[in-house]
Subunit: 187 residues, 2 copies
């Protein structure tokens, strides 16, 4: 695993730059002295200000109760060098596993929530539950991003995107089409 | 634009294989003899069976009312050869523009909903609104995918992923890690 460069504070309004492309994320949580990590692929941005994202956290997951009880979590964005850990984390349960220890990841205290950041990830978004109206029906949480930490480089991280059946893709080519937008508010 | 190969019926339970990686989509709608198309990047899978996705459709968008009134839409997945059209469609309003005509796209009748499929897209998911509880607060629609059409090739389409500021990425490398999953239900 490459040493991750220093992280900087990042405007929460810009979270979409990292989350909207659809990367697999690692959600860390803490409750009563224990921590957990889960792999998650079902999430979307929902608003710029406040910075809201929605995500599905299955109730069968050990993290579900920890996040619901603590009211918060951290959404961490791994890159492809962590692919084996991403799979391993999604393939075992925090009910009987200390995932930070098992996968050699480093918890770093967050600024605003109890759950730790994952140091090895490219970005970490500290989140508080903003709305749980759809938790009962769909396991759907609406999270408010209250603090964002993003590595200073690279500018274009090699995130992981899940296609099912064990297959991930990594961004290849980039297209800068900003000059094609006539209305800048649509960028 | 390359001629798109024939589409086949695709199991709606497998919609995640195309939508979970996070591609920008084109949402087509129809209401009272008019059609519209909008570009959308804020969506997530929510359930396998029924096949549910959630998405944000801003109320300022002409498509918002058409989808809400008709109760349905089609979520089409474009590839990078359509990038200019994807930007253009997101950069004007269907209130005063026939987007199929303006962007040279071909409407194809859907099987189960009134909105047309977009022939030039790689995949098209016919959707009915399943839950609008969060429309008022967040413009968030929960859609049930009732029919899926996917091109027979390529197996790995070059979808577009939006990073903000006019920048899109296209998948490059693929990693097949299915052998790393001990528990096949986690694949």
């Amino acid at each position: 695993m490459p040493a991750r460069t220093a992280k900087r504070d990042f405007p929460v309004v810009n979270a979409r730059q990292i989350l909207e492309p659809g990367p697999v994320v690692l959600v860390s949580s803490a409750w009563r002295g224990k921590t957990d990590i889960m792999t998650m692929g079902w999430h979307t941005m929902m608003e710029f200000t406040p910075s809201l994202m929605g995500c599905v956290i299955a109730s069968s997951n050990n993290s579900f109760g920890m996040i619901l009880k603590s009211g918060s979590c951290v959404v961490n964005v791994p890159t492809y060098d962590l692919a084996d850990k991403v799979v391993g984390i999604g393939d075992c349960s925090g009910a009987d596993t200390d995932k930070f220890a098992k996968f050699g990841l480093t918890p770093v205290p967050a600024k605003k929530v109890e759950a730790p950041l994952i140091k090895e990830c490219f970005a970490s978004f500290e989140c508080e539950i903003a709305d749980k109206r759809l938790v009962k029906t769909y396991n759907f949480f609406i999270l408010k991003i209250v603090k964002a930490h993003v590595a200073t480089s690279p500018k274009r991280p090699k995130t992981l995107h899940y296609h099912g059946e064990g297959v991930f893709s990594v961004p290849g080519t980039y297209l800068d089409l900003h000059k094609r937008f006539a209305r800048k508010q649509n960028l």
